[in-house]
C-alpha cells in the first residue's frame, strides 16, 4: 500500500513535470514559428533582394558614341569596327600561361604586358580583361587559328572611335581616351555608364559634349552560382548610342585652311556674321587624334609634345596675341562714337626722323619715311601708327577698353565650351590697378592704340570682333554645334527692328548687351570704319591691296596687323633686317581680319601666322583664297540651312 501511494505520488510528479515540459515546448515552438513569420513574411522583401543579389550578377555592355558630322553631314568622328581580344578571367586556368601564349600570337610588347598585369590586379575574378584593343586582321585571324589552346580568350568584334580626316579637325573635335578616375568623378554621365575600356572625350567637342555623345550602357543579367559561374542569361537591356551631333564647321573650308597653314604655326577662323556659326577653326600644326584612341605611344607623344610649333595648343582660342593694327578700326570707331574727333581729323606722320613724342618717350610709325598728313580713312587704309597714337591719347584707354569689350574682346567667345579657351586681356586703368597694382601711364594708352602693350586677344575673338563690326554692330551668339533655335531670318528681323530703335542714352556706358542688340550710337560711324577697311584692301596704298579680289562678287574688306613679339630698338630700326635675317622666335606675328562679300557682308575671318612677319605679306594672301572658297560654298550652305529648317 505504501508502494501504491508512493507510485501514485510519483505518477503525479511525472505528470506535473511533463506538463511543465510541454508548456515549455509549446513556448519554444511559438518562438521558432514567430521567427519564421518574421523572416518569411515581415522581412521577406529584404531577403528576396539579398537572394537576388546572390544569384544575379550584372555585366555592363559598352555604349556606342554618337557620330559627329560637319554642317554638310560629312562624318568627322566615326565609330569603326575593330578586332580585339578579351580574356575572361573566370575561365582562365593559368593566367601567366595564357599571357605567354597570347604574347607569341599577337606580338604584345613588354610595356603592354605590364599594363595588362596592372589591370588584372584591379579586376574582379569574374571580370573580362581587354588584352588588345586594336588587332590587325592578320593578328586576329592568327588568334582564331590558335583559339583552342587559349582558354578564356575571346576574339571580339567591337567598335572604336575613328577620325576620317585625322589631322584636319583635331582642335575642333578633339579625341577620346580611356576614362580616368578623374573623368569618372567629374562627370556623372560617365560614372553612370562606366564600363571597363570605356572611351571618353579628352578635349574638344568630344569632351565638352561627352554627356550627349556617350550613350547609355547596356546590362546583361546572368544567374550565377555560388562560385560565380554563369548559369543562364536572365535579361539583356541593350546599350544605346549617344546623340549624333552636327557641327557648324564646313569640312572643305576647314581643310583648305589647314592646307594654307601647313608648315607654319597659326590659326584661321571663319564665322557667319549673323548666325555666329563657326565655319572654320583651324590651328596649325595639328596632330592625329586617332593615335590617342588606344593610348598613344611614348614616341608619338614625345614627337607631338616636343614640336616647337606647339601642335597641342589650340591657337584659335587658346593662343594669345597682341592684335596689332587689326585693332585700329575699333579705335577709330570708339573715337567717333564718343565724339572725340570727327573723320576729318588729321595728323602728320613725318617718318622715323620725327617720331611721335610724349613725355620724352618716342613712338615710331612702321613706315620709315612717314605717311604725311593722314585723315582717318587713310590712316586705317594705310595703317598709320602715328595717327592712332594721337587718337588713342585723345580717347583714353578706358573708353577704348569699353568699346573693345563690347565688340567681343576680353571674354571667351564660346563661353565654357572649350576648357582651354582664354579670355585674353583688354587693359584699362582699373584693370592695371587691380591686377598689376600700378597706375596707368599715358604712354601705355598710346601703344594700346596700335594693338600693342598689355592687350592680348585670341584669333577667334578677332574674328568675332570683325563679325560684329561687319554685321552693322550687333551682338551675335557664336556657336559650334548646329542649333535649330538660331534662325537667320529671325536674327535679321531682330536686327532690322533694332536698327530703327531710338538711341539709348546709356549706349556709351558700360553695360551688358543681349544677343542681336545694337552696340553702336551712330550707324554712320560703323559705315565709315567698314568703308575704310574696304579701302585698305581695294584701293592703292591699302595694306592688303595685293590680296584683293577684282571680281565684284568676291570683293572683301580687311585690315592687316603685325604684332611685335619684342620691343623694337633704335638699333633694330637702323638695321632694318629682312624677315629671313631675324631669329624665328623674334619675328613678328602676321595678322589679318576681313569680311566678305563687301557689298552684302555675310562672313568674317581672322588669319594669324605666328612669327610670319608682316600681316600684309604673310596673312592677307591666305584670305584671298579662303574668301573665294567661302563665297563659292555660300549657296550650298544656304540650301542645307533651308533643308534643316524644313526638317525641324
Amino acid at each position: 500500500m505504501i508502494k501504491k501511494t508512493g507510485n501514485l505520488n510519483k505518477n503525479r510528479i511525472i505528470s506535473r513535470r511533463l506538463f511543465v515540459l510541454v508548456a515549455a515546448k509549446i513556448g519554444l515552438l511559438g518562438i521558432v514559428t514567430s521567427r519564421l513569420y518574421n523572416l518569411q513574411i515581415s522581412e521577406k522583401q529584404k531577403y528576396e533582394v539579398l537572394s537576388d543579389k546572390n544569384r544575379i550578377r550584372e555585366w555592363k555592355t559598352p555604349p556606342q558614341r554618337g557620330i559627329i558630322t560637319d554642317y554638310f553631314n560629312n562624318v568627322i568622328a566615326d565609330n569603326q569596327r575593330v578586332y580585339q581580344v578579351h580574356l575572361s578571367l573566370e575561365e582562365v586556368s593559368n593566367f601567366n600561361n595564357s599571357i605567354f601564349k597570347l604574347k607569341n600570337i599577337i606580338s604584345l610588347k613588354e610595356d603592354e604586358i605590364k599594363k595588362i598585369y596592372e589591370k588584372k590586379e584591379k579586376s574582379k575574378p569574374w571580370d573580362t580583361l581587354i588584352i588588345s584593343e586594336n588587332l590587325s586582321w592578320k593578328e586576329f585571324s592568327k588568334l582564331n587559328l590558335y583559339l583552342h589552346e587559349l582558354d578564356g580568350a575571346k576574339p571580339v568584334l567591337s567598335t572604336s572611335r575613328y577620325y576620317p580626316y585625322s589631322n584636319d579637325l583635331v582642335h575642333v573635335v578633339g579625341y577620346v581616351g580611356d576614362a580616368t578616375t578623374q573623368d569618372i568623378q567629374n562627370k556623372k554621365k560617365i560614372e553612370e555608364n562606366f564600363v571597363p575600356g570605356l572611351k571618353v572625350g579628352k578635349i574638344g567637342i568630344e569632351s565638352s559634349k561627352d554627356t550627349d555623345l556617350i550613350g547609355n550602357h547596356g546590362t546583361k543579367r546572368f544567374e550565377v552560382n555560388a562560385s560565380g559561374k554563369k548559369i543562364s542569361e536572365i535579361s539583356y537591356n541593350k546599350e544605346t548610342q549617344g546623340e549624333n551631333l552636327r557641327t557648324t564647321i564646313d569640312l572643305e573650308i576647314q581643310q583648305l585652311a589647314q592646307e594654307l597653314l601647313k608648315n607654319q604655326a597659326g590659326s584661321i577662323c571663319v564665322m557667319d556674321i549673323y548666325t555666329g556659326e563657326v565655319i572654320t577653326m583651324a590651328s596649325s600644326p595639328t596632330y592625329d587624334p586617332n593615335k590617342f584612341t588606344h593610348g598613344i605611344s611614348t614616341k608619338d607623344w614625345n614627337e607631338i609634345k616636343n614640336n616647337k610649333l606647339r601642335p597641342l595648343l589650340n591657337k584659335s582660342l587658346a593662343g594669345l596675341y597682341s592684335p596689332g593694327s587689326t585693332i585700329k578700326p575699333l579705335v577709330a570707331l570708339a573715337a567717333l562714337e564718343y565724339g572725340i574727333i570727327d573723320t576729318k581729323f588729321k595728323v602728320n606722320c613725318k617718318g622715323h626722323d620725327h617720331p611721335y613724342e610724349l613725355y620724352g618717350e618716342r613712338y615710331h610709325c612702321w613706315k620709315k619715311n612717314g605717311h604725311g598728313w593722314m585723315s582717318m580713312r587713310n590712316a586705317i587704309k594705310q595703317s598709320c601708327d602715328i595717327y592712332f597714337y594721337e587718337v588713342a591719347r585723345l580717347l583714353g584707354v578706358d573708353k577704348l577698353s569699353l568699346i573693345a569689350k563690347r565688340y567681343g574682346l576680353g571674354s571667351k567667345v564660346l563661353e565654357d565650351f572649350f576648357s582651354e579657351e582664354k579670355k585674353g586681356i583688354v587693359p584699362s586703368t582699373k584693370w592695371k590697378k587691380q591686377v598689376l597694382e600700378q597706375s596707368w601711364y599715358l604712354g601705355e594708352t598710346v601703344i594700346t592704340g596700335i594693338g600693342q602693350g598689355y592687350i592680348q586677344t585670341t584669333p577667334l575673338q578677332l574674328c568675332l570682333m570683325t563679325a560684329q563690326l561687319a554685321n552693322g554692330g550687333y551682338k551675335i551668339k557664336p556657336n559650334l554645334i548646329y542649333d535649330k533655335e538660331i534662325d537667320i531670318d529671325i536674327i535679321k528681323s531682330k536686327i532690322e527692328s533694332e536698327k530703327n530703335k531710338s538711341v539709348d542714352q546709356n549706349i556709351l556706358k558700360d553695360h551688358g548687351f543681349k544677343y542681336y542688340e545694337r552696340l553702336y550710337r551712330n550707324p554712320n560711324n560703323l559705315k565709315f570704319v567698314l568703308d575704310a577697311m574696304y579701302g585698305s584692301t581695294n584701293e592703292q596704298f591699302g595694306t592688303s591691296f595685293k590680296s584683293r579680289h577684282t571680281e565684284d562678287k568676291y570683293k572683301f574688306a580687311g585690315k592687316t596687323g603685325t604684332s611685335q613679339v619684342k620691343r623694337i630698338t633704335d638699333q633694330d630700326r637702323e638695321l632694318d633686317l629682312n624677315l629671313e635675317e631675324i631669329e624665328y622666335k623674334n619675328r613678328d606675328h602676321a595678322l589679318f581680319i576681313a569680311f566678305a562679300p563687301y557689298n552684302k557682308p555675310r562672313y568674317s575671318l581672322s588669319v594669324l601666322i605666328e612669327h610670319g612677319g608682316s600681316g600684309s605679306k604673310a596673312a592677307a594672301p591666305l584670305a584671298n583664297k579662303l574668301i573665294k572658297k567661302i563665297l563659292d560654298r555660300h549657296e550650298l550652305r544656304e540650301k542645307i540651312r533651308k533643308d534643316l529648317k524644313n526638317i525641324a
Binding site: I14, K44, R55
Partner: protein
C-alpha cells in the same frame, strides 16, 4: 493486481496488431516522404547518390522500426544498462579507432555505412535513465546518492562525445538525460544551481573550446562579423528562408540551394531548403507534423502503466523536441550553429537509425502497454 500483472504477460498477435499506433506510423511515413523529396531537391531534381541512399535508408530503418516495435518493452527494460554500456564501449572504440573527417573523429566504418555511435547514445541514455528512475521512490530522489549516480552516468558519454569533438550531439545527449531527471522529480533548485554554475564557468568553458567552436558562437551573436567565413552559413540560411516568403519558391525552385549558396543542405540545413521551397506555410506544416509526432509519443506515455515506459516516452518526446528545436532554431539564426541534424529529414544513416530505434521502443511501450515491469 497480482492476477492482472500475470495475465498481462501474454498477448495474442491480434491484440498486438490492434495495439499498434497506426497514426504514429503514418506521421513518420509522411515526414519520411517529405524528407526524400527534399533530398531529391538538394540534387536539383536528379535521382542520384544522396536521394537513392536516403530513400534506401529510410525504407530499411522504417521497416526496422516496425519490426523492432514487437520486442517486449520489458526486454528493453532488462537490457537498459547493457545498452548504455554498449554505447559507451562504442564511443571508446571511436575514440581509439574511429574514422576522422574534417577534424573530428565520430564514425565507425560499417562498410555499408559510416556509423556514428554518439547518435545511438542519444537513445541509450534515455533508456538507461528510464530504468534508473523506474525504481526510485520520489522521496529518495533528492538524496545525494541518487543525485551523484545519474550525474556520472550522464557526464561519461557527454565527455566522450565532446572529445570527438561534437558539441552539438553532446548537448543533445545532456539535454535528453536532464529531461528525464527533471521528469523523475529532482528538485528545481538543483537545476537552478547547476544552471548558475554553468553560467559562472562559461568563460572558462569558452576558453577550452576549439577555435572553430568559439568562432561559431561569436558568429552567432554577430553573423556579419565574417560574412564569407564563419558567418556565411547562417547568413545564407536566413536569406534562403526569408526569400521563401509565404508560399515558397516552389519544389525544385530554391535558388539558394540550387545555385549552391546553401552549405550542408543535405544534413543540418535541410529545413532551410524545405523552407525556401515551401515557404512559411510548408515550414509551419512540417513543424505541425513534428508536433503531432511528439504529441502521439506523449499520449503513448500516458497510456503506459509502467514508470519505465512513461519516463522513456516522455523522455524521448522531449529529446525529439530538443533535436527539432535546436536544428530549426539554429538554421533560423536563433541559436549558434552546433551541428544538429533534423530528425528523419536530414541525410545521415546514424541519425535515422537512432530515431527509428527510439520510435520502435515507443511503439513497444504502446503494444505492451499493460506490462507493469517487475520490481
Amino acid at each position: 493486481m497480482l492476477s492482472m500483472s500475470l495475465n498481462s504477460t501474454t498477448y495474442s498477435f491480434i491484440d498486438k496488431l490492434k495495439a499498434v499506433d497506426y497514426f504514429l506510423i503514418i506521421i513518420v511515413a509522411i515526414i519520411g516522404s517529405i524528407s526524400v523529396f527534399s533530398i531529391y531537391s538538394t540534387e536539383s531534381g536528379n535521382f542520384s547518390f544522396y536521394t537513392k541512399n536516403h530513400l534506401i535508408r529510410f525504407l530499411v530503418f522504417f521497416f526496422m522500426f516496425l519490426i523492432l516495435s514487437f520486442i517486449r518493452v520489458s526486454a528493453w527494460y532488462r537490457q537498459a544498462y547493457i545498452f548504455y554500456i554498449i554505447g559507451i564501449l562504442l564511443l571508446l572504440y571511436v575514440m581509439l579507432f574511429g574514422i576522422s573527417a574534417s577534424g573530428s573523429k565520430r564514425w565507425i566504418n560499417l562498410f555499408v555505412m559510416n556509423f556514428q555511435p554518439s547518435e545511438l547514445m542519444k537513445i541509450a541514455i534515455i533508456v538507461c535513465f528510464a530504468r534508473y528512475y523506474h525504481h526510485i521512490q520520489s522521496s529518495d530522489i533528492q538524496s545525494y546518492k541518487y543525485l551523484l549516480q545519474p550525474t556520472v552516468l550522464l557526464l561519461i558519454p557527454c565527455y566522450l562525445v565532446i572529445a570527438q569533438p561534437d558539441l552539438g550531439t553532446a548537448i543533445l545527449i545532456a539535454g535528453s538525460g536532464l529531461a528525464i531527471i527533471w521528469l523523475a522529480g529532482l528538485n528545481l533548485k538543483y537545476f537552478v544551481y547547476s544552471g548558475l554554475i554553468l553560467l559562472v564557468s562559461l568563460p572558462f568553458v569558452i576558453s577550452v573550446l576549439k577555435p572553430y567552436q568559439k568562432s561559431r558562437i561569436l558568429t552567432f551573436f554577430n553573423p556579419e562579423r565574417d560574412p564569407l567565413g564563419a558567418g556565411y552559413q547562417i547568413i545564407q540560411s536566413k536569406i534562403a528562408i526569408g526569400s521563401g516568403g509565404f508560399l515558397g519558391k516552389g519544389f525544385l525552385q530554391g535558388t539558394q540551394s540550387y545555385l549552391e549558396f546553401l552549405p550542408e543542405k543535405h544534413t543540418d540545413f535541410i529545413f532551410t531548403l524545405f523552407s525556401e521551397e515551401f515557404g512559411f506555410v510548408g515550414s509551419a506544416l512540417l513543424i505541425f507534423l513534428y508536433a503531432l509526432l511528439i504529441y502521439r509519443i506523449i499520449r503513448i506515455g500516458f497510456l503506459s502503466r509502467s514508470f519505465f515506459a512513461k519516463l522513456y516516452c516522455f523522455g524521448f518526446a522531449s529529446a525529439l523536441f530538443l533535436y527539432i528545436f535546436v536544428n530549426i532554431a539554429m538554421v533560423v539564426g536563433l541559436l549558434p550553429i552546433v551541428g544538429a541534424p533534423l530528425p528523419i529529414m536530414s541525410y545521415g544513416g546514424s541519425s535515422m537509425l537512432s530515431i527509428m530505434l527510439g520510435l520502435s521502443i515507443v511503439m513497444s511501450c504502446k503494444i505492451y502497454s499493460r506490462d507493469p515491469i517487475g520490481g
